[in-house]
Assembly symmetry: T
């Protein structure tokens, strides 16, 4: 039986929350193997000069530890 680890990321996009999630997942997949899923726990935005500058999501990413597979 595998053991998984959970790591927390904050990903951002100037376009949308969906794009921020995609960016966060792509970055996670670049260094973590065996990702099994993620949980979006916070939805924020930063604002500058009266415009939304960045959509930001907090993501908790779960991935299996290789040696336990």
């Amino acid at each position: 039986m595998a053991v998984a680890r959970v790591t927390e990321l904050v990903a951002a996009s100037p376009v949308s929350f969906d794009d921020a999630i995609r960016k966060g997942f792509e970055r996670a997949a670049k260094t973590l193997r065996n990702i099994t899923g993620f949980h979006v726990t916070e939805w924020r935005a930063s604002v500058k000069d009266e415009a939304i500058q960045e959509y930001r999501v907090t993501m908790r990413v779960t991935f299996l530890l290789e040696d336990t597979l």
Copy 2:
């Protein structure tokens, strides 16, 4: 005065969170009459082979009990 019930669903879509919500609502509306609203309480995704496989939302659906209308 009506009495409502709250039921909890988990709906999934390979496309997006918005699509998962739509699917969950459509399924709820198929068997429940007099839905008055819903609340999305969790946003998760399952991942397989380094790609997002399913977007999953937890929805709490409220509907009026017919005999109390």
Copy 3:
């Protein structure tokens, strides 16, 4: 150092959650200066005649108090 205030809004859209957030932010930006960001804390929808009538988000908007800048 500036002091900021946090105010809570509920914004709605017949189209989508993204549109509700945009509407909420536009309304906030109309009367509040120096908004630095917002946090979306609740995602709900109202339903009528078996169709989603309004997507509703609760937003906590942070803005700097002018005299502290």
Copy 4:
């Protein structure tokens, strides 16, 4: 040993929170046997034309499943 189920209701009354609880309990008792208790978890009111229109309580009702008695 019995197994119980927990179901969530939202009950309303134009008179008071106490009356809303009574209405919710009466409706629950009409279709559920072997209720052992309930928990009031939310207290809200709807307002129209500057008057309280409905007191609304969220109730989590617990009842024993017959075949487990």
Copy 5:
């Protein structure tokens, strides 16, 4: 589509929680137009000389912003 604001009050009464809620709502209705509802989130009492002095409720009041109607 309207945008609403949520404001938090603490109302008190020497008589009962119900009376405290009524007082809080009356005060809110005096300065806020278009109140659509409220949520009672805390129930406290202050005590002096071995008697309940004040019943105190925390209320989150929601009202529509005029210009968005």
Copy 6:
């Protein structure tokens, strides 16, 4: 400056939540001096033979420690 202690009670009444609170406060005042207030944190009821048997409140009672006055 005084130091206070917080103690948790569960009080019950066959009549109403208000009466349960009164009973809990009276019992607390019988053995604790210098009570400064209480916080009602849970509202439950037990049911028997399709009738509400007891209204039960959880109360957190704060009282000053005598030697710190």
Copy 7:
């Protein structure tokens, strides 16, 4: 894509928490098809005559709705 429902049970055993979970799962499996998992959210015990009478767990059981498979 399937839609799942979440239902909440309280299961009890005079022997242990593990046995209570087993009893709750067996009862759930008797009437619900396509259970995919459960979440144990509360661990309580009732006591009588200075002995533990029942171990009680609150379980949130998830099952797929047949027509969505």
Copy 8:
């Protein structure tokens, strides 16, 4: 109608969580009469030299106040 008090314990065992609960309950029953139940709210373990040293549970024990029986 009786009034109950809730007291919080942390109990430990080198053997297992079940044993820690038993130890906590036995200690509580030694000085408290009329215990009606308990709630296990936290599950922790301390580790030393790469071995689990103690399983520790936080228990909230409820007991009836004698004079209210």
Copy 9:
């Protein structure tokens, strides 16, 4: 009996959390009369170039509404 309002601030200081609280309170006292207290609910810091740049506290300030005194 007075009715109070609760407003949320975020105050910052380059020196310490204590100083941030002081700054937040001073700013609040400049425009709000009859403040009765505040609650510090979040403690954060921003960092730049490997040094703490600002200590930031979220404060919920309670003040009595004049016309209810």
Copy 10:
């Protein structure tokens, strides 16, 4: 293996939060033996005449029960 109890205090100081914690700990240590630690869970202040009157902390103090040592 020892069993510990957790008790909740509210301690106050006109000087600072740190001083309130010290006062609360000193008072606890006067009547409780074998304190193993404490947890500060709330940070509040009372205000009078536009000045901070008291810094108040809620502390949960853990101490070992003598007979279990």
Copy 11:
């Protein structure tokens, strides 16, 4: 004074929750030195073909950073 890190794992076992905890701890101890304890924060199970397939616990493991000892 040492600084510790907290890492989150999800461990599974086909046998029991106790076994899942043991497996999670063993895996953690394989790569982390100076573990001082862990906290079990979630208890779930996956189900397949009407049988419990895996007991799954979420564990937050604390370990001292070597260079701070």
Copy 12:
């Protein structure tokens, strides 16, 4: 747009909470580049021989992942 990671530390000091935070931040800054901030989420103390032995803070530190800058 950068992606950040959040890591959780527990830092301790025999002197004060402020010093514990400083120690935690210094240790974090030793191995993590591009820290953007931290959030203090728990405030505890360990006690020995009737004296505070260590002030302990739980800190959630956010830092940008280099390759995303």
